[in-house]
Symmetry: C2
Subunit: 245 residues, 2 copies
C-alpha cells in the first residue's frame, strides 16, 4: 500500500466546486473516477481545500491510498491521459502513510484577480472579476496592512459550519497592478469559509472610496459579518499553492 | 445616415470564426443580430479580418451604416448590453462614409501564445498552445529575422482562395518569454490565409531543433507550402490590433 499526494490544477468554471454535490459535477468526483479507472480500485481522495463553485486552483492537494505499484511520480502522467482538459495533475509523489492534507501545518496562497477597465476583455472574463469603476490600489494596500497578522476574522467569514475558532494568521497581502489587472495575493495559515472573497470585496470598497482604509480595523473589532464588504465573485479567485511545513 | 466603426474583442473558443457559416455560429452573425435588434434595421457588418474558428481577437474591426441617431461613441455601451460575455465592443465611433475596413492601408498585429512546460495549466488552455518539449527561443528569434521585410510568403499560406499576389511585408516579429509563456508578436501590412499560424508552426520546429534557423530562407525561396512547418493550433492566436494609417 502506498499513499499518493497529487497537486491538482483546475479551471473551476464548469464545476460545482471541489466537494461532491447531489445534482452537479464536482472536481473531487472527476478525480475519484479517473484514479479508480486507472488502478481498478474504488478510490476516494481526501482534498486539502474544498474550493467553492467557480473558484480555480493551480495547486490544490489531494491524497489517496492505493495497492497499485505505479511509482508515485508516474501517477501525474497516467492520470492526465484520463482527466478532462480543465483538470490536470501538475505533480504526484508517494508520501508517508500518515500524511493528511488537512491535519498538517500549512501555509496557503490565494490570488484574486480584478480586471479594472472601462470595457471588459472577453479573454479574461473567466478568471478575473471585472470592475468598471476607478480603483485606488494605494488605499487598498493601506487597508490590507490592518489585516496582516493574527486576528479574529469572524467579520470576514460566512457563518456556514461551526468552527472552533475564527482566529487565523495572515502572513502577507500583496497588491500589485500589471496593465489593467489588479492582483491581490494573500498568504495565511488557514482561511475561514469565504474569507478571501470577503477580504477582497472589502478591500475593493476601500479602493472605490466607499470606506476609508481605517474602517477595516472597525470591521475586525466588530466580529460581525454584516460590517464587512460583499463577497467578491468566485471566478476571480485562484488557490495558488499549499505549502506543507 | 452614419457609418459606424466598431472595435471588437472576442473569445473565439465557441464560434465557427468570424464569417457566417451554415451549421455553426459565427461572430459576425451575433454582431449583426445585436445591432439589428438595437437599431430596428437589418444590419450586416463588414469585417476587417475573417478570423478562423477558435482564433481570438482583442481588436478586430467591423463597420456598418445606420439611420439611427445614437451617437457613434454610444454604440459600444448599448451593444455590450445585448452581446454575450465572450464578444464585447471595446470602442465605437462614427467614421467617414467611404471608410472601408479592408480597402485601406493598415497594419495588423497578431500575437501567438505558447505555454511551454512539462504539465498543462487548465487556466491557460483556451488561449495558448501547450508544448511539452524544450524550446530554444534564441533559435526562433534568429529564424524570425529572415521573415521580416517584404517577401513572397507563398510557402506560408494555405492555398484556399485565389489571391492576386502572395507578397506581403512583415514589419517585426518579437519573441519574448514571461514565466512559462512564450509570445510571438507579428506586425505586418497584411497576412495570407493561415500565414501567422504557419509561421509560428515553422518557428516552433526551429525552436525544437527540427530545422536550423537558416532553413527558413530555403522555405521562403521554395514558394511551396509543403516545405514549411505545420499550422499551429487556432486557440493560441489573437488578433491584437488593426492600425489604420
Amino acid at each position: 500500500m502506498q499513499r499518493i499526494k497529487l497537486t491538482v490544477a483546475y479551471d473551476g468554471t464548469n464545476y460545482a466546486g471541489w466537494q461532491i454535490q447531489k445534482n452537479a459535477l464536482a472536481i473531487e468526483e472527476v478525480l475519484n473516477k479517473a484514479i479508480s479507472d486507472l488502478t481498478g480500485e474504488d478510490i476516494v481522495v481526501i482534498g486539502a481545500s474544498r474550493t467553492d463553485s467557480g473558484v480555480h486552483a493551480l495547486g490544490n492537494v489531494a491524497v489517496f491510498d492505493t495497492e497499485s505499484r505505479i511509482p508515485g511520480e508516474k501517477f501525474s502522467y497516467a492520470l492526465n491521459q484520463r482527466l478532462p482538459q480543465d483538470i490536470k495533475i501538475v505533480d504526484s509523489k508517494t508520501v508517508e502513510p500518515d500524511f493528511h492534507p488537512r491535519y498538517c501545518d500549512t501555509r496557503k496562497i490565494y490570488r484574486y484577480d480584478i480586471f479594472n477597465r472601462k470595457f471588459e476583455n472577453p479573454l479574461l472574463r473567466l478568471y478575473s472579476h471585472f470592475v468598471y469603476y476607478d480603483i485606488d490600489i494605494e488605499k487598498m494596500k493601506k487597508a490590507a496592512k490592518y489585516l496582516v497578522g493574527e486576528h479574529d476574522f469572524k467579520s470576514f467569514c460566512t457563518p456556514k459550519t461551526q468552527v472552533e475558532s475564527t482566529v487565523r494568521t495572515i502572513y502577507r497581502i500583496d497588491i500589485s497592478k500589471t496593465g489593467d489587472m489588479i492582483s491581490v495575493e494573500i498568504e495565511g495559515n488557514g482561511f475561514l469559509y469565504n474569507m478571501v472573497r470577503i477580504i477582497v470585496g472589502t478591500l475593493l470598497k476601500v479602493g472605490m472610496n466607499f470606506y476609508p482604509p481605517e474602517y477595516v480595523l472597525e470591521i475586525l473589532e466588530a466580529k460581525d459579518r454584516g460590517k464587512a464588504g460583499p463577497k467578491a465573485p468566485a471566478k476571480g479567485l485562484t488557490l495558488v499553492e499549499i505549502i506543507y511545513e
